[in-house]
Subunit: 495 residues, 2 copies
C-alpha cells in the first residue's frame, strides 16, 4: 500500500514556485464553479502518519482557496452531546452542503485506527467499523458527494527524523501523541492496521490517495493536483449524481520518480554463488512442499513483469525443484470464448489449487490493471473497480489458507532492448519476440505508471508484492525462490 510513498519524492523550490500560482488560480476557479453549480459537496478526509504534513496541508489549502467556502472540521474527543448519540451523528451534523468543501481532519478512519492501535478493541470491531465506513461512503456517493481520501505517509525513518522537532502535548492524550509515535511498535501497528483499512475501503467511487509527506513541495503539489483534477472532472460531468467511479484519475508521481526507479538494478550474482544458492533454495522448496504442514495450505505464485524480464526462466527454476504432480503452471493469454462469457475473475478461480498443491500463474488477474488498462481493452470503470475486487478475491484466498506470493520482475529499458535484439538473432528464441513487444515498449511509461498504481493499491499485509530486480537473471531467480520459501515458512510459523 505504501511502497510508492517511501522512495523520497521531492520537488525543488523553483519548480514549486513556478507551479503554485497556476494551480491556485485553477483551484479557486473550480471552487467558484462548485459553488455556482451547487450540485454536490466535496468531502476531503485527511489521515495518515504523524508528522507527515496533515495539518500543514489543511492550512495551505485554506490559503490557496477561498476559505469562506471551506469548512474545516476537526473531530477530537467526543462531546457530551455526541457521546449520547449513535457514533455517526457527529459526522452527519458537520457534512458540508452542496457547493461547498468540507475538510475532515480526524474522521471515522482516525477513530477506528486509534482505537485498534491503542488496543481498545480487536479485529472484529475494526472490521465492523470498516464495513460501516464503506456503507456510509457508498451512500454519500450515491447522493452525489465527491470524496477525496488522503493518506499522508512517512517511512519510519522519515517519521523519527520529523518527530524530533515535535513536543509532546498532554492535552492530546486521548489520541496517539507524538510520544506514542516515537515507539517503533506504534508505527508498525498503525501501518499494519492502516493497510487493512485502506485495502478494504478503497473503492472505485472513493479511492485512497497515498501521498509521501516528507517533502513539503511534493506533498502540497500532489494534493492540490488531485483535488483540482477530481473537481474539474466532476464539475464537467453533468450527470452526477450517479453511482460511478471517482472523477479524479489515479496520479503518477509529480516528480517522475516511480516505484520501479527506486530499485537497485545493479544487483547480481556470479555463476558460482548462483549455482550454490539456487541448489540450496530449490532443496528448501522441495522440503517445504513435502512438509506435513503444507496439507493445511495451498501455494499460489503470480508472475508478472516487463516483456523479456525472464518470467519463463524463473518459473522453470521453481518448477525444476518439484515433483510435477505437485504443481501446475497456468499461462494466461487472451480469454477463451467460454471465459469471456463469465465474470472477469472466473478464469482464475477455476485454477485455484486445492490444499497441498501449488499453482504458478504466468501472468494473472492483474492483466486487467496492466495490459487491459493501458491498451484500453476494458473501460476505465472496469479497471478502476478491479483493484477492490482483486483485494476481495485475494482476501478470500488467504483466509482459506492459500499462501499467495506475487512477483513483478523488473528490467530497465536498455536491458530490454538488448534482450529483444538477442532474441531476434537467435533462431530458437525468435518466436519469443513479436510486433506487440515492440509496440508495448513504446508505452513503457504508461506501463510503469500502471505497475506503480497496481502495487500501491494491491500490495497489502495479506498479499504483498515482491519487486524483483531482474537485470541479472541469476539474481532474479534466486530471489524468487527465496521469497517463496520465506513465505511458506512464515505461514507455517503462524499456524
Amino acid at each position: 500500500m505504501f511502497e510508492s510513498a517511501e522512495i523520497g519524492h521531492a520537488i525543488d523550490k523553483d519548480t514549486y514556485d513556478a507551479e503554485v500560482p497556476v494551480l491556485r488560480e485553477a483551484l479557486l476557479e473550480a471552487q467558484y464553479e462548485l459553488q455556482q453549480q451547487a450540485r454536490f459537496p466535496v468531502i476531503v478526509l485527511i489521515n495518515g502518519i504523524e508528522g507527515a504534513g496533515k495539518g500543514e496541508t489543511v492550512k495551505l489549502l485554506n490559503e490557496w482557496m477561498d476559505p469562506r467556502l471551506i469548512q474545516v472540521e476537526t473531530f477530537d474527543q467526543q462531546t457530551d452531546e455526541e457521546l449520547a448519540r449513535p457514533p455517526a451523528w457527529r459526522y452527519w451534523r458537520r457534512l458540508p452542503p452542496k457547493g461547498r468543501m468540507g475538510i475532515f481532519f480526524g474522521n471515522w478512519y482516525s477513530q477506528m485506527l486509534q482505537g485498534r492501535v491503542h488496543g481498545n478493541f480487536k479485529d472484529p470491531v475494526l472490521d465492523q467499523a470498516i464495513e460501516g465506513a464503506e456503507r456510509l461512503e457508498r451512500m454519500l456517493c450515491d447522493e452525489g458527494a465527491l470524496i477525496f481520501k488522503f493518506w499522508f505517509h512517512l517511512s519510519k525513518q522519515q517519521m523519527k527524523a520529523r518527530l524530533k522537532t515535535l513536543k509532546d502535548d498532554p492535552l492530546h492524550s486521548w489520541r496517539l501523541s507524538p510520544l506514542d509515535w516515537q515507539q517503533s511498535k506504534t508505527y508498525d501497528k498503525f501501518v499494519r492496521y492502516g493497510e487493512r483499512v485502506l485495502r478494504r475501503t478503497s473503492r472505485d467511487y472513493a479511492p485512497w490517495y497515498v501521498v509521501e509527506g516528507f517533502d513539503e513541495h511534493y506533498r502540497s503539489l500532489t494534493v492540490g493536483r488531485i483535488l483540482l483534477e477530481g473537481m474539474q472532472a466532476a464539475l464537467a460531468n453533468k450527470h452526477r449524481p450517479v453511482r460511478q467511479p471517482h472523477a479524479a484519475p489515479l496520479v503518477s508521481s509529480l516528480d517522475n520518480l516511480g516505484l520501479l526507479d527506486s530499485l537497485d538494478m545493479s544487483q547480481s550474482l556470479d555463476k558460482d554463488r548462483y549455482k550454490e544458492q539456487l541448489a540450496t533454495e530449490q532443496a528448501r522448496l522441495a522440503g517445504l512442499m513435502r512438509d506435513k504442514r503444507m496439507r493445511k495450505h495451498a501455494l499460489v505464485a503470480v508472475f508478472e513483469g516487463n516483456d523479456a524480464a525472464g518470467k519463463g526462466g524463473a518459473i522453470r527454476r521453481v518448477a525444476g525443484a518439484l515433483d510435477p504432480r505437485q504443481y501446475r503452471i497456468v499461462p494466461i493469454a487472451a480469454p477463451t470464448e467460454e471465459e469471456r462469457a463469465q465474470p472477469y475473475l472466473w478464469r482464475f478461480w477455476r485454477h485455484i489449487p486445492g490444499r497441498g498443491m501449488f499453482t504458478l500463474f504466468d501472468r494473472s488477474w492483474y492483466g486487467r490493471v496492466l495490459v487491459e488498462r493501458v491498451e484500453g481493452f476494458c473501460s476505465e470503470a472496469d479497471w478502476l473497480r478491479a483493484y477492490g475486487e482483486i483485494n476481495d478475491f485475494e482476501e478470500q484466498l488467504t483466509r482459506a489458507g492459500v499462501v499467495l506470493v506475487k512477483f513483478w520482475l523488473a528490467i530497465d529499458k536498455d536491458t530490454q532492448l538488448q534482450r529483444f535484439k538477442e532474441r531476434e538473432q537467435t533462431a530458437f528464441k525468435r518466436f519469443k519476440i513479436t510486433e506487440d513487444d515492440w509496440r508495448n515498449r513504446e508505452k513503457w511509461d504508461r506501463y510503469s505508471d500502471a505497475v506503480g498504481d497496481m502495487v500501491d493499491r494491491t500490495s497489502s499485509e495479506i498479499a504483498p508484492w515482491t519487486l524483483v530486480e531482474a537485470n541479472d537473471k541469476r539474481f532474479a531467480r534466486v530471489k524468487v525462490l527465496r521469497t517463496l520459501n520465506d513465505a511458506l515458512e512464515a505461514a507455517f510459523a503462524r499456524d
Copy 2:
C-alpha cells in the same frame, strides 16, 4: 420482512389456468432473447422455509421454460475438492455463462443460515458471511449479472401443516431436516436470522423477493411474473452492464390482497375502557421514561399513516403523559433549503435524541418510499436504494441503544372519506384538509402498494413496524401507547 407473506394469498384454479399459457410463452421468448443477446447471465437464488415450495417451483420453471438453457445447481454437502479450496470456489465453478440462467438451489445464504441455526458459529461469523455475500453480488452485478433472490415463506402454522406430509430423510442430516423443522424453535431461529440476512443483503441492484409459499398457484405465478418482468426490463436496457437498480419492479400481490387488508379494522374501545386504559398506559410511559435504566437508551417513535388516520391525536396522547422537557415532536414537511443541500437522511439525523430523551417524528424518513415514490418526487433509483439505506440507518440507531418504534396508522377508504367531510364542515378543522388530500386519495391503491413494500422491506428484528387499526381512534391511541411501553420494557429487560 415476512409480514405480507403470512396473510393467506391464494389464486383460484381458473385464473391460474388462464394466466399460465400467456406467462409461459412470454418467459420462453425472454429466454431465447437472453440467449441471442448473450450479454448477461441470470442467477436465481432459491431460499426460504422448508415446505414452502422451493423444489416444486424449480421443477415448474424447468417445465415452463426451455430446460436446455437453464442449469439447476444444488449445493449440498461440500465435496472433497470443494473443501480443499476457498468457500466461494464451489459457486464460481457453477456460474451460468452470459445468455443462460442458473438456478442456485441451496447457495451461500442457505449455508450461512443453516450454520447459524445449527449453532456452528455465532453472529460475528454470520455477519462476515453476509458481508461476503454482499461483495460477491455487487461484483456479479457490476459484471452485468441479473440476480433474483427469492425467499419462499410460510407462517409457522402453515409450515406445520405442510410438514405432516413430509418424512424425515436421514441422508440430509447435514442440513436442517424436516424433523428439525418440526421444532418450533428451529422455525423461530431460522426466521430471526433470515430477517437479519434479508435486511442486510437486500440492495437495489439485488433485492429480495419474499413469496408466500402455501398456495401453489399464487406462488408459481408470482415467481414467474417477477422473473419475466425483470428479464424483459434488463433485455430492453442495452446499457447493461452498469451499476444500476434491479430491473424487476417490486411486485404487489397478484391477488390484490395487501398487507393492510389483513387487519381487523373493526377493533374498537368504548369510552370507559378507553379512559381507564389510556390512564394506565400513560402512567406506565411516564414511569418508564423516569426509570433510571432509561439513561442508557433514547426513544424514537415514527408516526406514519393514511391522511386523517389520527396521527396528531395519537401523538398528543403520548406527549400528554410526559414532561415537555423529555420529548420533542418533529413534524416532517417539505425539506428546507438547507436540508435540500444535504444527503436525504441528514434532516433526520439532526433530530436524533440523546440518551434519556424521546423524539416523536410526525412523518419521517419513510417519506422517500411513500410520498416521494408515489408522486415521483425522486427517481426510481433513489427510492429503491432507500430501503437498504434506511435499514443501515436504523441499525446504527438501535446498535447505539435507541429504542425505535414505528407506527403505521391504517384506516379504510370509507372512514377516510367520512373524516374528510367532517373536516370540511368543522370550522376549526378546515385547515386540516387540502386539495392534496383529495388528490392523494385517488392514488389510494398505489399508496397501499408502497406501504406494503415499505413494511416488507424495513420491518425487521431490530425495528419492526406496528400496524395500528385506526378506524376507532380510541383503540388506536391505546395501542400506540401500549406498544411504546412494551418496547421500552423489552429493551430494559435485554440490558
